[in-house]
């Protein structure tokens, strides 16, 4: 059972994090002319669906781990600050998805929260696997927020660089 959960959780994480990364690349490519055409929109919609499937698999398998802790008497692990930081970040991913759908958050912050949150969740998952309890909840969330701010700027710079690259590539071909 544990191995099954690990495999499902890994598949979910790969789909979610990979999808969130692909969305950034597809967005940069789609926005190079300032317009998202129907084909680009279709690709983006499919990738968003992949991210949601990844999120679903990760959440269900994650709760499977929590049940295994409960059944094996390892309930102390449920108060691990790294686990709660990861849960908080998953809540942020969900809230961000709803805000993006409602068009209540712009692309600059929306993509930063999505991209940084997924990668932070991966990092925290690795810390949880290694049983690291040295980090406190406030410190993890503090570093996460700094990463979101830095990530927003870096992603914008990457989008600009990718747009220039695509423009040059199109001109040369």
């Amino acid at each position: 059972m544990y191995l099954t959960l690990i495999i499902v959780h890994m598949i979910g994480t790969i789909l979610g994090t990979g999808g969130a990364t692909m969305i950034e690349i597809l967005l940069a490519k789609a926005l190079k002319d300032g317009v998202v055409d129907p084909l680009e929109s279709d690709f983006l919609r499919a990738t968003y669906r992949v991210v949601r499937v990844g999120l679903l698999l990760s959440v269900f398998s994650g709760f499977g781990f929590l049940l295994l802790y409960e059944f094996s008497g390892q309930t102390a692990r449920l108060y691990n600050p790294v686990l709660w930081a990861k849960l908080t970040i998953i809540l942020i991913i969900l809230a961000n998805a709803l805000l993006l759908q409602a068009r209540k958050i712009n692309l600059f912050w929306g993509s930063a929260f999505s991209f940084v949150s997924w990668w932070t969740a991966v990092l925290l998952g690795i810390l949880l696997t290694n049983g690291s309890y040295a980090l406190s909840y406030p410190s993890i969330m503090f570093y996460y927020l700094i990463a979101v701010f830095l990530g927003a700027g870096i992603l914008e710079a990457c989008r600009d660089a990718l747009q220039k690259y695509f423009e040059q590539h199109e001109r040369s071909s």
Binding site: F60, F63, L66, T75, L78, Y79, L91, A97, L98, A102
Partner: protein, 150 residues
């Protein structure tokens, strides 16, 4: 813990998660410019049924095991508030979920007959978001309660 209790607790968590997931999908559907009304109706009904199933399995687990074996451990341990605050709140607040989901199903069924106005759509979104937030709080409370039993 016997196999039956493990099945009951797993069912409680699984059905609860299915309900939360369906509420999330329902909320994102309602936020679309052209909401898929028939699909949204199915999501709301699915969420209501999942929460009823979670209620039954969770209730059986509470009666058969939690009240007799887990609650005394929590109350005698370092985290009695895991029961006093979180379980006491969860067992009452949870009851909103199946009925709010059912209310959403009925309201969306009405919207299927009549093209939904902006006011009705906004109200549906607000109820859906509120139900989703309550469901998330209840889910997290479950982790706090389980962690308090040592």
């Amino acid at each position: 813990m016997s196999d039956l209790l493990k099945i009951l607790l797993t069912s409680h968590v699984l059905f609860g998660l299915i309900g939360v997931s369906l509420l999330f999908v329902l909320t994102t559907s309602l936020l679309k410019i052209n909401p898929p009304v028939i699909a949204a109706r199915r999501y709301a009904l699915g969420a209501a049924l999942s929460f009823f199933a979670s209620w039954i399995s969770g209730g059986m687990y509470y009666v058969m095991h939690y009240g007799k074996s887990v609650k005394p451990i929590i109350l005698a341990g370092e985290y009695p508030w895991a029961h006093f605050i979180f379980m006491e709140a969860k067992e009452h607040v949870f009851l909103f979920l199946p009925f709010l989901s059912l209310a959403l199903f009925i309201a969306i069924s009405y919207a299927k007959e009549v093209p939904p106005s902006d006011t009705l759509r906004r109200s549906l979104v607000m109820v859906s978001v509120a139900t989703f937030v309550i469901a998330l709080i209840v889910t997290l409370s479950g982790i706090v309660i389980s962690g308090g039993a040592r």
